[in-house]
Symmetry: C2
Subunit: 341 residues, 2 copies
Amino acid sequence: MQTEGRLPLNMKILIEGEEEVGSEVLEKYLTTHADRLACDCVVISDSAQFAPGKPAITYGLRGIVCYELLLNGPDRDLHSGSFGGSITNPANALATILAGLIDDQGRVQVPGFYDDVVALTDREREAFATLDFDEADFFRQVGVESAQGEVGYTALERRWARPTFDINGLWSGYQGDGPKTVLPASAGAKFSFRLVPNQTPEQVTAALREKVAQLCPPGIRFELIAFHGGPGVMVPLESPYIKAAARAIEHAFGTPPVFTREGGSIPIVATFAETLKADALLLGWGQDDDNTHSPNEKFCLADFHRGIKASARLWQELSQIATRQVPSKPTGGDRWDLAGR
Amino acid sequence: MQTEGRLPLNMKILIEGEEEVGSEVLEKYLTTHADRLACDCVVISDSAQFAPGKPAITYGLRGIVCYELLLNGPDRDLHSGSFGGSITNPANALATILAGLIDDQGRVQVPGFYDDVVALTDREREAFATLDFDEADFFRQVGVESAQGEVGYTALERRWARPTFDINGLWSGYQGDGPKTVLPASAGAKFSFRLVPNQTPEQVTAALREKVAQLCPPGIRFELIAFHGGPGVMVPLESPYIKAAARAIEHAFGTPPVFTREGGSIPIVATFAETLKADALLLGWGQDDDNTHSPNEKFCLADFHRGIKASARLWQELSQIATRQVPSKPTGGDRWDLAGR
């Protein structure tokens, strides 16, 4: 506004204060005010740079769907001597069912789970490989020496671009000191799948319900609760908005951005895409060592200033894109390349 | 003493007040005073009749060995989005390991687990089949409609005479309301095997440790804690003591006893056998509906009086067995028949 006398484009600012508690109100607000909020592109700063001196454009987020599985067997805890072997044990059944949801290659065994997964392209894998990501160092940072995951993918690929099955919680029977010879009446688990485009929570839930029914042994009744979830998101790199953002970042940081994906989920991004039919630009200026959500959280002042400069430049760059010309969402069968790099 | 003026045999009475808390002191006492306690036969009343009007001699008990398995992965709980897929999840590993200890036929997958199992003989299975045991009714009593167990055996056979694997407790990660997208740092389980003659806790523990090491994936450190256990017990039915007890029971109850085994464990019985080289007679007068260890526990007065009469007669019968002539313990390879029926 200082240089041109007016903003070079029409801007609508939306402030969200509930991202950490599920964005329920924002979701309703978007649906109710879709006309008023209509736009070509949504710019969100809720991601990070790849490393110091490596600003990033996050072009993909994983989705998520969470569940609770409750198994009930006998109507009370039983003596494992008097009844063991003759009555189905819900905790045994839980281990069998959960282990049955993934094979020894790290592949999820829910039927059709991979049908709509947009595969990593060769160029994408090459681009990831050129990033300065050291697996041994990554493992060391969380206190492990190695890891097991989906066979055929690097840790970075598995983290950013492949769907997962993670048990988030387990409980059954006796958890105190020493042994107890109980055959528990019930057992339960929380688990979740991280999704990638174009998987949907709804399809996974339907197939999962059938799979659990198949795996559930005689003598056990199961209840599968599906919690709120959201699909993954991927912005095509050939998008003119991505190209505009890359130019703005290079201007402000003095180096072109790297293109990264993110293993976590920001479900509202998919809601923006669905409700407003607008692509998202995920431009964030944080660093991995900012202690996000932890004690001594920080934000680098130099990144603060470079981020301001990149944002100011971004409006200029975006204003030069005359009309909406974003390619359609990639589909499972399409060849999808890093054309925008 | 009223009829003969003196007891017809030498009797040593041992009163145990700690059976429900592991009999640790008794075990030490037996070892220390083995010479003083030397005897031909140990009579224990800690079992039950098979049903009203069906007094029983319990000729077999299962053994037991209990464990705690602790798995540790990353040094703290991780975000399942940022790390899921790239770091091994201890709760996933726990499900895989536990499920890997038993196959879909209900067979324990610890190497050598069945090597020393004394098989049910055809005559034993026939004898079990003639007992008035209704599976549907048994299931109904604990609130289930059916059950899964080791393929090829009836519920009664599985309960009395086959070894088991039962998970007694599970814990990991988040157990509260709703979902939480955590990749837990650790996971744990309690589990136990019921053993049958001639399995030993020591052999199972050694083989289990190797099996768990095989099943434990990269990125997970495991700790396997073995708690106190004990082997199963089986008194050969051709034992002259068993025959003497059968005559005493028929005298007192007006009907011959049925021969039953018991799924539970009384580890001290094996200690008696090992320390004193004496066989055990398990003669108990309780009923299934006595509410043992539960509110309104009872004991039928008629059974009390019949039990007294059977015990008095037993001393007479035992006194007529001149010398120790008990057959040796059955071994895994032997053919072992219900010769004593």
